[in-house]
Amino acid sequence: MNTSIAANEGAHAGGEGPLSFWESAMRWTLSVDHKKLGIMYICAGMVFFLIGGLEAALMRLQLARANAGIIDPETFNQLFTMHGTTMVFLVGMPVLLGFGNFLIPLMVGARDMAFPRLNAFGFWLFIFGGLLLYFSYIGSEGLYGAPGAPDVGWFAYAPLTSRTFSRGNSTDYWILGIMVSGFGSMTTAINFIATVLCMRCPGMKLMRMPMIAWMMLVVAALVLVAVPVLTAAQVMLLLDRSLGAHFFDPQTQGSAVLWQHLFWFFGHPEVYILVLPAFGFVSEILPVFSRKAIFGYSLMVAATVGIGFIALGVWAHHMFVVGMGPVLDSFFAASTFLISVPTGIKIFNWLGTMWGGRLRFATPMLFVTGFVAMFIIGGLTGIMLATVPMDWQLSDSYFVVGHFHYVLFGGTVFGIFAAIFYWFPKATGRMLNEHLGKWCFWLLFIGFTMTFMPMHISGILGMPRRIYTYEADRGFEIWNLISSIGVPVQMAGVLCFLWNVVKSLRNGAIAGDDPWDAWTLEWSTSSPPPEWNFDRIPTCTSARPLWDKKHPEDPDAHYE
C-alpha cells in the first residue's frame, strides 16, 4: 500500500506493474466500480466548483463598487445564471452523489452498488449534461450575437424563458443540459435505494445502518420524486419554445405561475437533497472526533425521514410575493416553520454527541464544527424568510443570497470539505496534510464570513439580488466592498486545498486501514479498498461494528 495510486490500481487489477497513463485512463473511463465512479464524480464536481467559483469571483469584482463598468449587464446575467446552475446541478448533486457512490457499498458491507453499469451510465449522463450546458458558451448563438450562455437565472422563470424574451438558443442549452444530468441523478437514486435496501451485509438491520446510508436513502427518495417534476416542466418549456405550445405563455392563457410551482416543487426538495448528505457527513465525522456514539440515533433517523416528507410540502415559500393569497401563504409558512423542528433536532443531537466527548480538532472536525455553527445561522435566517411578511420585504434581496449561501456554502460545501479530508485516506491510501488543511479551513471560514455576512445587511438596506450594478446613494457600497474583499481570501483557501491534494497524492503520510480510529465498516478494509471491497463480507453486530470489535468487553450491541 505504499506505492503510487496507479500502482495500487495495477496491483488490484491483476498484480502487474504500474500502468501507463493511457491504460490507467482507459481503466477509469470504462470502470463500473462504485469507488472509481465516486471519485470521478467528486473530481468532476470539484472542477465545476472551480469554474462556478470563478464566475462568482467575477460578479463580486463587478459589484465591489457602485456603478462599476467592468462587466456588461448581459455577461453578468450569464454569470449568475451559470454560477447558480453549476453549483446546484454540477457541483452539489454530483459531489454528494459521488460520496454516496463511494461510501454506501463500503459502509453497508457490499461489494458494489446494486446496478454497477447503471451507475456508470448515470455518471456519464452527468458529465455530458454538464458539458452540454457549458458548450453553450461557444455553441449558442443569439440575436445581435449577444446571448452566449443562458441568462435567465438558475430558476428560469417564465415567461422570460419564452422565445419572445429569450432569443437564440441559450435557454435550450440550459434545458437540455440540466435534463440530461437530471436523468443521471434519477438512475443514481434508483441505485442508492436498491443498494441500501437490498445489499446490506448480514446483521445490518435498517436501524443499524450508518447515518449516511439513511441520509442517502432519503435523498434518493427525494430525487425520485422531485427531479422528474423538473424534467417534465423542462419538456413543457421545450415544447413552448420549439413547437409553439403555450404552457407558460400568458398571451395565450398559459400560466407564468405554473412554472414557478413546478420548478419549486423540484427546487425546494433539491435544497434538502443538497444538505442531507452533508448532515450525513457530520453525523459520521462528529462522533469519531468526539469519541462518542451519536446521541439519539433513532430520533436522528426519524428526523431525517421527517425532513424528507415535510420537504415535499414547503415549495411555495419561494413564492410569497407571487400573490397566492393569505390561505396558501399561511399554509406554506406553517409547513416551513415545521421543518425547522426536525432540523433543530439534528443540531441538538450533534451538540449532545459533542457534549462530554473528547474532542480532537483534526481538519475534518474543524469543518464539521464550522458546518454546525454556520448552519445554525442559515437555519435561523431561514426562519425569518418563512415569516411571510418579512419575506415580502426580504424575498429576492441580498438577504436571501446571504441566507442560502450560509446553508449551501457554510453547510454543504463545508460538509464536503470535511468529507474529503476524512475519507481521502480511505480513497487514496494517503493522508492529507493537516497543516495545510487548517490553513484551508480558516481561510475559507474567514473569507466566507466576510463575503456572506454583509449580504444580510445589504439585503435589509434594500438591495435586490441579480442586479449587475447598484446606485451609489443607498448605503450599499461598504457592505458590497467587504463581500468582495472576502473573495480572494476564499480563493486562497481553495488554493491551499488544491495544493494539499497534489502534495499529499505524491508524498502524503501513509494512512493505513483506519487512521481516525473510526467505527464504521469502510475502515475495516484496506486503504484504498480492493476492487471487491471486502475479502470476506463483514457481519454487523450494531450501529458501530468496529467499536464492537475494538471493545469486546462493552459492545454497542448490549445497548440496542
Partner: protein, 380 residues
C-alpha cells in the same frame, strides 16, 4: 445530575415560550392597523437618525432600509421583524453557547487524556441518547414554531394585500422591460398615463393594481410596503399609506432581463393640494409651443411615435408616455437625471447610457437631435 440541570433549563424555556405566546395572542393594541394611520409628525424611535427628519432622505444609508418604515404595512413588518429577530437571536445565543461550551469542555477533556495515559486508554463514557432530553428539544421548538406561525398568520391578515383600506386611491401599475407605467383614473373617467415616477398623496391609502406587459417584475419600495410581483396575465394588489411627504426610492426586485438593475422606482409623496395640482397638470394635453415645431415634426417623422405617446402627437404604447416628460426628474427608469445633455445623449444612443435597453438609436443628425431634445424639454 447534569441531566436534571438540562431538564430544568428546558422547563424554564417552555414556560417562557408559553408566556411569550400568551402575551402575543392577547388582543392587539400595539400594531397600527390599516385605517388608523400614524400622524405625520409622530417621530417613531428609529435606530438611524435619518428617520427623524420630517422629509424622507433621498440618499444615504437607510434610504431603502426595511427598518425605516413610513407606511403601515412596512411598519407592521418592521414590528414583526423585531420580534422574529429577537427570537432568532435568543435561539442563536443559546445554541451557539452550548456549542462553545461543548467545545471548551471537549478540548479540556482531550488535553487531560493527553497528559494521563490511563485515561487515554479508555474512551469517554458512551451516551446513546436520553428520552427526556430528546423530548424536551423536540417540544420546545414545536412551541416556538407554533408562536411564530400564529404571529405570522396574524400579520398576513392585518396587512391583507388583497384588501386595500376603503377609499384608497387606485393606481394601475404595469411593468415593462425595463420601466414602469402608471395609470391614474381622472375625475372625469379618463385615464392619465405616466411613467417611472409615481406620485401619491400623503396620508391617503394608495392601492396598486399590478400587471405586466411582458415578463415578471416586482414592485418594491421598502419604506412603504413589502414587495409584490407583477405577473403577466395575473393581477395582483398591494397598498400603502405614505405618512410623510418626500421621495421614496425602490426598484424592481424580480429578475426581468438585461437591465433589471436599472428598473428603478421613485415614489413622490405630496401633500394633497400639491398632489391634486400635479394630477391636474398630468391630465392636461401636451403643451404645444410653436417655437419647437421643428422638434415635434422630427418626433412625428421618425419611429419615435411608434413607441411613445404624446397627447395630440402620437399614441405609441411600447415605451413610456412622454406627454409630460419634462415634469419628471429622471429618464431611463429613474437611473439618469433629466437634463438637456442627458436627454440628447439618450435619444442619440440609448445603449450608451443603459446598455441592452429596448430603445434603438434612430441615427438622427445633430440638428434633428437638438430639435427633438428641445421639443421634449418643453413638455412640462
Amino acid at each position: 445530575m447534569r441531566t436534571h440541570l438540562i431538564q430544568k433549563f428546558f422547563a424554564l424555556v417552555i414556560a417562557a415560550s408559553v408566556l411569550c405566546f400568551l402575551a402575543l395572542a392577547a388582543p392587539k393594541t400595539v400594531m397600527a392597523t390599516a385605517v388608523d394611520v400614524v400622524p405625520v409628525n409622530e417621530s417613531s424611535r428609529a435606530p438611524l437618525e435619518i428617520c427623524n427628519t420630517s422629509v424622507p432622505p433621498i440618499s444615504g444609508a437607510g434610504v431603502t432600509s426595511i427598518f425605516e418604515p413610513n407606511s403601515p404595512p412596512a411598519r407592521e413588518i418592521r414590528n414583526l421583524s423585531y420580534l422574529v429577530f429577537g427570537i432568532c437571536i435568543a435561539i442563536f445565543v443559546v445554541v451557539q453557547g452550548f456549542l462553545v461550551v461543548a467545545i471548551v469542555r471537549g478540548v479540556k477533556a482531550a488535553r487531560a487524556a493527553a497528559r494521563d495515559p490511563v485515561l487515554a486508554a479508555r474512551e469517554p463514557v458512551q451516551v446513546y441518547g436520553s428520552v427526556p432530553i430528546e423530548v424536551a428539544w423536540t417540544v420546545v421548538p414545536v412551541i416556538i414554531v407554533f408562536v411564530l406561525t400564529m404571529v405570522t398568520i396574524r400579520t398576513i391578515r392585518d396587512i391583507d394585500t388583497k384588501q386595500p383600506p376603503a377609499g384608497a386611491l387606485e393606481i394601475g401599475v404595469i411593468g415593462h422591460q425595463w420601466w414602469w407605467e402608471f395609470r391614474y383614473q381622472a375625475a372625469d373617467g379618463s385615464t392619465i398615463v405616466t411613467a417611472n415616477e409615481l406620485h401619491v398623496p400623503v396620508g391617503r391609502a394608495v392601492a396598486l393594481r399590478l400587471n405586466s406587459a411582458d415578463v415578471i417584475h416586482s414592485f418594491w419600495v421598502p419604506r412603504l410596503a413589502g414587495k409584490m410581483d407583477l405577473i403577466p396575465g395575473h393581477t395582483n394588489m398591494m397598498w400603502f399609506v405614505a405618512e410623510k411627504p418626500g421621495l421614496y426610492l425602490g426598484q424592481c426586485a424580480e429578475y426581468c432581463g438585461a437591465q433589471h438593475a436599472h428598473m428603478l422606482l421613485r415614489v413622490n409623496a405630496d401633500e394633497t393640494p400639491a398632489f391634486d395640482q400635479w394630477l391636474a397638470a398630468q391630465a392636461a394635453p401636451a403643451i404645444e409651443n410653436p417655437a419647437v415645431a421643428h422638434g415635434r415634426a422630427v418626433f412625428s417623422q421618425y419611429a419615435c411615435l411608434n413607441c411613445h405617446a404624446i397627447t395630440g402627437t402620437s399614441d405609441g404604447l411600447f415605451g413610456p408616455n412622454l406627454t409630460h416628460l419634462a415634469s419628471r426628474a429622471t429618464i431611463g427608469s429613474g437611473s439618469i437625471p433629466l437634463t438637456r445633455a442627458n436627454l440628447r445623449q439618450w435619444i442619440d444612443d440609448p445603449n450608451s447610457l443603459k446598455p441592452a435597453c429596448n430603445m434603438p438609436s434612430l441615427k438622427l443628425n445633430s440638428t434633428e437631435l437638438d430639435a427633438v431634445t428641445d421639443y421634449l424639454m418643453t413638455l412640462q
